[in-house]
């Protein structure tokens, strides 16, 4: 019987050279749920996503997807696993030398022997799901940021993945596109019966669509809970982050020497 959790992360540590990026991470992502990983820029969210996708190997600990430990898979095993994953990159990462249609058809042509007529129907279905069937002939350079993100989403779900990874899906979008992408993430997850992991620092949009949230700071999980629990948090980092307050446990100023010392005021007034 398959585990209730599609993805499980246990005692995960990751170090770039000698700098620790992730320390002692434990997380689980139940099947069929949309889970967000939030935190400030540079807190290790995207690194974590790359570890789940097998693009990086952990220094210690493990990431299990569908019962398989990702970093122990050989290249062929990893590629087999990735065929069951979809990933939406921060700015879409569409292939600029291909049309919208060809971008969405890319994985189908690479991994299946489907006839071109069937691929055409499937691509139009996927594009219809993101509201861009009429744009299938356009090139990526002709799309707005929000449209590009939706095409990338259609491409990511081309093979009906069991796991969707979203890397900052809301970054740089206007409010309407933001709502559209948010709704698509939720509805596509439910329609596909998939599990979604959303790495983001867009609090308000995420709280509307996710089932559970992990908060990270400086490479550690510092809080977790449902959207309601986190909205209700009235102290500490979570409160500061959720309400966008400038000062709090996370200081506004990067640590450094004293201001007066840097401006050499003591010397100037000596």
């Amino acid at each position: 019987m398959p585990s209730e959790n599609l993805v499980e992360i246990q005692e995960l540590n990751f170090t770039y050279d000698v700098r620790p990026v992730l320390q002692g991470i434990n997380m689980h992502f139940p099947r069929g749920k949309v889970v967000a990983i939030m935190g400030l820029s540079g807190c290790g969210k995207t690194t974590l996503l790359r570890l789940i996708g097998g693009q990086l190997k952990p220094s210690s600990g493990q990431v299990q997807v569908a019962g398989q430990t990702i970093h122990t898979l050989d290249r062929e095993g990893l590629f087999r696993m990735r065929r069951r994953m979809g990933m939406l990159f921060q700015f879409g990462a569409l292939y600029t030398d291909m049309s919208v249609f060809d971008n969405v058809a890319f994985q189908m042509r690479e991994h299946t022997d489907l006839p071109e007529s069937l691929i055409r129907d499937l691509v139009l279905l996927k594009l219809e799901a993101v509201g861009l069937r009429g744009a299938h002939n356009l090139m990526p350079t002709e799309l707005s940021g929000g449209m590009a993100r939706r095409v990338a989403l259609a491409r990511a779900i081309a093979l009906d993945p069991m796991l969707m990874l979203y890397d900052e899906p809301f970054a740089g979008l206007d409010t309407i596109s933001l709502g559209v992408i948010g709704n698509l993430i939720r509805h596509l997850n439910d329609a596909l019966g998939a599990t979604s992991i959303v790495v983001t620092h867009d609090v308000q949009e995420s709280l509307k669509i996710v089932d559970y949230i992990y908060f990270m700071s400086e490479g550690r999980v510092i809080a977790e809970g449902t959207p309601d629990e986190l909205r209700a948090a009235d102290t500490g980092f979570v409160h500061q982050f959720v309400h966008g307050e400038i000062d709090g446990p996370m200081p506004f100023h990067y640590p450094g020497a004293g201001y007066a010392e840097d401006l050499a005021l003591d010397v100037a007034h000596a």
Partner: protein
């Protein structure tokens, strides 16, 4: 004083280690390209598409340059040969210069600046915009799908471009020598035909251009794949492609010439 010397030695050591590491990385990259080349031939349309971008779109610069180089050879060659009363050997001079040396070398230098730089910039930008990562996440090997077809396209295009460069060059020499100056047309062609040996001259030129094609395309692909994913990184990588390819072509030309034409 001692501290500066130690720092200097350390810096030199660091540069040497980095250089050796990079060379090793480049060799592994090249080996990976060769090992993942089967898709380039199984799905030959991928390679054909790249031949269009690398080869066909380089045709204009190759043909125009070849024509002018041939015309200059015609003018300079006639000027020198007439001093010895050997104007009739103009065809031989133009053809041998082009087929043995100028054709492969100049076409390679032009190919490096036109197609090599474009390949580096394209791969570098694909990396910077996460297109390469996206491909890996879709379980598609970017070396097999993106790099290898471009490599074989470059290797196939280069000798064809060099041949066209030489052919237009000979035509340029003909225009100046025969049409403009009035060298006897029969002598121009017959002496050329008698003096240019297919195996010794033409084939050696083709071998040279194949080697240049391998070197330029491998350098361009490696620099693009290894470029830091920033605007500055891609810009530096593109510059390095042109400079390294040009030096590699000239050095390889010397080595190949020494082996091919020694004792002649």
């Amino acid at each position: 004083m001692l501290e500066r010397a130690i720092t200097g030695i350390r810096g030199t050591g660091h540069r040497v280690v980095n250089g050796v590491w990079r060379l090793g990385y480049a060799s592994r990259f090249f080996l990976a390209v060769l090992l993942h080349s089967s898709m380039s031939f199984r799905r030959f349309h991928l390679t054909i598409k790249e031949i269009y971008f690398s080869g066909v779109l380089s045709l204009i610069i190759i043909l125009v340059s070849g024509l002018f180089v041939g015309m200059v050879l015609g003018l300079q060659g006639y000027e020198t040969l007439q001093k010895y009363g050997s104007e009739s050997a103009l065809g031989t001079l133009v053809a041998l210069s082009l087929v043995r040396e100028l054709g492969p070398v100049l076409a390679a230098l032009l190919f490096a600046s036109r197609a090599g730089s474009a390949i580096t910039a394209e791969i570098g930008l694909m990396k910077a915009t996460e297109q390469i990562s996206a491909m890996e996440m879709m379980a598609v090997d970017p070396i097999a799908r993106v790099v290898a077809p471009r490599f074989w396209a470059g290797v196939i295009s280069m000798p064809l471009l060099a041949a066209m460069f030489s052919a237009t060059g000979v035509f340029g020499g003909y225009l100046i020598g025969v049409v403009l100056i009035g060298v006897d047309e029969g002598q121009f062609w017959s002496q050329m035909q008698a003096a240019v040996d297919f195996r010794q001259d033409v084939m050696n030129g083709v071998i040279k251009s194949c080697v240049f094609g391998v070197a330029i395309t491998a350098i361009a692909l490696f620099e693009g794949y290894d470029a830091p994913p920033t605007a500055e990184g891609v810009s530096h990588a593109t510059t390095r492609t042109v400079v390294t390819s040009a030096l590699a072509v000239l050095a390889l030309d010397f080595i190949l010439t020494a082996f091919m034409f020694r004792g002649l």
